[in-house]
Symmetry: C2
Subunit: 319 residues, 2 copies
């Protein structure tokens, strides 16, 4: 399944997941438009099942399995939104899910996975232990691995968000989405089918995708130090192939990201996680690039610890 | 204009405000449905312009004025959502707005009013001073007073939220909305035209509407001590007439309201203010009443100080 997906794969993913995926609303804000100097149409994947676009890809991958493979179950490694999304998709299909999670993962995220009935297998918090544990589970169960982003079925599923956005809003001039492993941005690019420019948005303090796509080669040793917990992965082999030479990545500072996140909470009344705010932060930093244009903005998710808001932490630090 | 409005007034309000009011989405949450044991359809007025349903009533009242009256401008007293909503509606019509605001009103709310270009007139923080100052402004300007709820045009405007909800969701068994002055609930009741039961939801610690509608007479000296800053008014003469004998008011404790508010933030990724959470809190307290039913829930607004969240205050208090 790991050749590059195309537009038809996204249409197929859209049909396959139609009964499960929420057709999320596209919302606007006149005050944010005024602040940005362009017309923004926010695709609200924070309102997706599981609180993030991740459910689209996981759902497509899980429902694409043939019955024999499905019966053996699905395995993934992710303590974040992808783990919960795979667990949810497996529950809907009625098949077992095992999620390999490093020691120290946030309680709230483990709870979200456990609520979906998945088996959680703990391992030491390093990539070698995660890979070894995952391989062991795959041997034990005969299950299928679903990678969080470097998987054609997952990419095709993520593309359904932009597919819907283009159906919901006529005449967009550009689309922008966060980039981390590249699954969402790859799906977005494929869904637009070359019809309009697609931008990635990335934290300055996790700018490995920007570096990779500028150099034309994957950079895997870039320092990552961002509060955007959804944007700490590196590009995959497949996603790099899809995106290389096709998208521009715009950057935003941590302070710009927090400010943009707060703007969306205040003006749009939407709970978004820091990762979701990077595209707006990038637009506000690059006003000239977007001036007067009609821009689709993918709000990727809303899973945030309400006891640990960035501005609350800051205000406490300043006491 | 202060006779009781009817269903046709709501249809007229809907047509009059159509170009200005956002047709807000109706959102669902499978996990909240499971928790409540019923099927809830949330009408998201927190996503309305100005972040609250108040814009509907203000917009209808402002655009109902004839040109001569409109030219003399509009006056209101409200430091809350209604003040900002009137200011916004007047800006859209291009007429002057004056908002009488007591000393000590929250900075964030004054900013919201000022951003709309309204004139702010300060007065001492008591009702006599507010009334005297408002009367003086009315004499000086010849403007029209728009009361926050005891006004037929405002009630008709608020009813457009439920009118849309009934268009958006087939087969509702009941509708529930917060009650304070009674404008939203009166409009909701009129919009349903007797077709289904309508419930009000009120904080136990501001249960004057419950008392008034139980006794069949307005109670104006009930103690009010709730964190729901949108639910501290008493029923008006007109709203009491509309609601008396027609609705049941359900109560919720402050702790239940905060818990329900947090559930909506966490599970639905929506920023709502405490007042908006009272209907969900009341449903969760009265599971038997709603079991298995299809319930429309009006989320009234999302204007909350992000530096002063109830659970953040509580967690700080517990240190």
């Amino acid at each position: 399944m790991n050749s590059i997906p195309d537009f038809d794969d996204i249409l197929l993913a859209s049909r396959r997941t139609a009964g499960h995926v929420v057709r999320t609303p596209v919302l606007r804000s006149s005050s944010l438009d005024a602040a940005a100097g362009c017309e923004m149409h926010f695709k609200c994947e924070n309102l997706q099942r599981g609180g993030a676009f991740k459910f689209r890809g996981a759902c497509n991958a899980v429902f694409a399995l043939d019955d024999a493979a499905a019966a053996r179950g699905v395995v993934t490694q992710s303590s974040g939104n992808h783990g919960a999304a795979v667990a949810m998709a497996c529950r809907l299909r009625g098949i077992p899910a095992t999620v390999v999670v490093p020691e120290g993962a946030a309680r709230v995220k483990l709870d979200a996975i456990a609520r979906q009935g998945a088996t959680i297998v703990r391992c030491a918090p390093n990539q070698a232990a995660r890979d070894a544990t995952t391989a062991q589970v795959l041997r034990d169960t005969g299950g299928t691995l679903i990678h969080p982003f470097d998987d054609a079925r997952v990419i095709a599923g993520q593309g359904t968000a932009a597919l819907e956005l283009l159906e919901q809003v006529d005449g967009l001039d550009a689309v922008i989405a966060p980039i981390s492993g590249g699954g969402l941005l790859s799906g977005t690019l494929l869904a637009t089918a070359g019809g309009l420019p697609v931008y990635g948005a990335e934290p300055e303090q996790a700018a490995d995708a920007h570096a990779s796509l500028t150099r034309g080669a994957r950079v895997l040793d870039w320092p990552i130090d961002t509060l955007c917990d959804g944007l700490r992965a590196h590009l995959g082999q497949l996603t790099f192939q899809v995106l290389n030479g096709k998208v521009e990545v715009l950057l935003a500072s941590e302070a710009e990201i927090v400010a943009a996140m707060r703007l969306v909470w205040e003006r749009m009344k939407l709970v978004i996680e820091p990762s979701s705010a990077v595209p707006l932060a990038a637009i506000l930093r690059n006003r000239g690039l977007f001036a007067g244009r009609k821009v689709g903005v993918i709000l990727s998710g809303g899973n945030v610890d309400l006891d640990q808001l960035p501005w609350t932490r800051q205000s406490l630090d300043h006491r």
